[in-house]
Symmetry: C2
Subunit: 247 residues, 2 copies
DNA sequence: ATCTAATGGTCGGAAAGCGCACCATTTGAC
DNA sequence: GTCAAATGGTGCGCTTTCCGACCATTAGAT
């Protein structure tokens, strides 16, 4: 007695969580820093607030912060007007070093995982860009988009990754689905981890900036297909790079 | 001192988990049943296997199964060739009854939530269909797609929801991104919950079937844009229905 | 009739996570 | 100089979850 098969229960009966509360909290804070949602020197919410936002006990938040402080991502100061701050200089993320990086749960680098990541990214980001262009944006939203574009344009090599991530997240945010943003953030983290494993990227920052501009303009002028196409072409560059180096 | 703003940390500092292990396990099993991945009368994996798949202790699995048995979704039989089975007749899910449905965590029905759900669904499913049409499908995959199409066509009103869900999941599965399927499953569950709150849908089952066929054919003949367009039109029907009733 | 294998059912200790109260430190306001 | 407020730091008891071992039941094989 066989299943109709092809679509069995195993598809949904996957792990209900990607680790314990502590690990997930660490990853979430790391996302917030690496994707540039809270920049170097800026302050995170107070521990009690973080515990509330993350729906996790303060103990767990504290342990996560302790780990990230050890790793050099965060710095805590106590007292009034104290708090937990993002380090002014973030730890560089080198692949060659044989340091035990407990923060990056050794991700699989098989071709399947790479294709999975790139495909998902394209679906989410191209779809997001298309919907963003199809919506009626408020003046404030239009300014924010342009601002994040300009900031990415002016970025130095060191901070480019972070500001580029911010721009892409901003586009996703404008799609008008609150549930979409975390998904884009997740897949973006996966892409960044892949990029960490290839040497000396960044030859095409200028080209990237041009493409960013095309995307932003298509969104601001309300042309969904153009936005989708511009985003598709933009992502194709990264995809080609990753496939070339890692497959 | 204000943020650059518009894209602050709150976007990522959301709850790290949607409930405790028990609740998430219940939801996962419920998904598997409601989306038809394991049909009425069919058997679930053994408790020890489930615990392994879901990365959760057997105790938690057992508690979840106990809840779902009380609710009438599952039936357990012990002994060799025993196991946990999906009920032959699934509990109907009526909104009018004032029964405390502990299994359906009262979802918000605000316009924002509805738009969020519909937007995300369109991005995921249209993108999935487009990619499925752009891939080289194996003969086996082509057969599975057609099979799920035929099964949905032959469905009675009662089982239509389940088999329709299976068809949509199958399309997503063919996109070639393993990470995509759970996302489509999640958003599909959200759509189904919305549909549970409007009376007597299902006038357009015939029309739905026609659209399903167009989607399947576009995918099988490798026409990404046609697949995406067919899926877009198909989803527009549901979206119109939901917006009309719930907003 | 018996044995065997696979299943669900039960129990007890260890660990993780939670919630709360309280302590220690810092800084601006007065 | 003192105080108030906001923050990180610490300790404790409770609940949930985990893990492993063992028991009870069933259906087929022998």
């Amino acid at each position: 007695m066989e299943e109709p098969a092809g679509l069995n229960g195993e598809l949904l009966l996957r792990p209900v969580r990607g680790g314990n509360s502590f690990e997930e909290t660490v990853q979430r804070l790391l996302q917030t820093v690496r994707l540039g949602l809270v920049g170097p020197g800026e302050r995170l919410p107070a521990e009690r607030e973080l515990a509330g936002m993350l729906a996790v006990s303060r103990d767990t938040v504290r342990e996560a912060i302790a780990s990230l402080s050890d790793a050099g991502y965060l710095v805590s100061r106590r007292g009034r007007y104290g708090g937990t701050f993002v380090s002014e200089v973030l730890p560089t993320h080198l692949p060659g070093t044989d340091q035990e990086d407990a923060l990056a749960p050794t991700r699989n680098l098989s071709p399947e995982v790479i294709e999975d990541t790139l495909t998902l990214r394209e679906i989410l980001e191209v779809g997001g860009a298309r919907h963003a262009a199809g919506r009626a944006l408020t003046p404030s939203e239009r300014e924010l988009l342009w601002l994040s574009l300009v900031e990415a344009n002016e970025a130095t090599d060191e901070e480019y990754r972070r500001l580029d991530s911010r721009f892409h997240l901003m586009v996703g945010e404008l799609a008008g689905s609150a549930s979409l943003t975390p998904l884009i953030a997740d897949v973006r983290m996966r892409v960044n981890e892949l990029l960490d494993n290839i040497p000396s990227l960044g030859p095409n920052i200028a080209h990237s900036n041009t493409q960013h501009e095309q995307i932003a303009i298509a969104i601001l002028t309300g042309r969904p297909d153009a936005a989708a196409q511009a985003m598709t072409e933009h992502l194709a560059g990264t995809a080609l790079l990753l496939r070339g180096f890692l497959e």
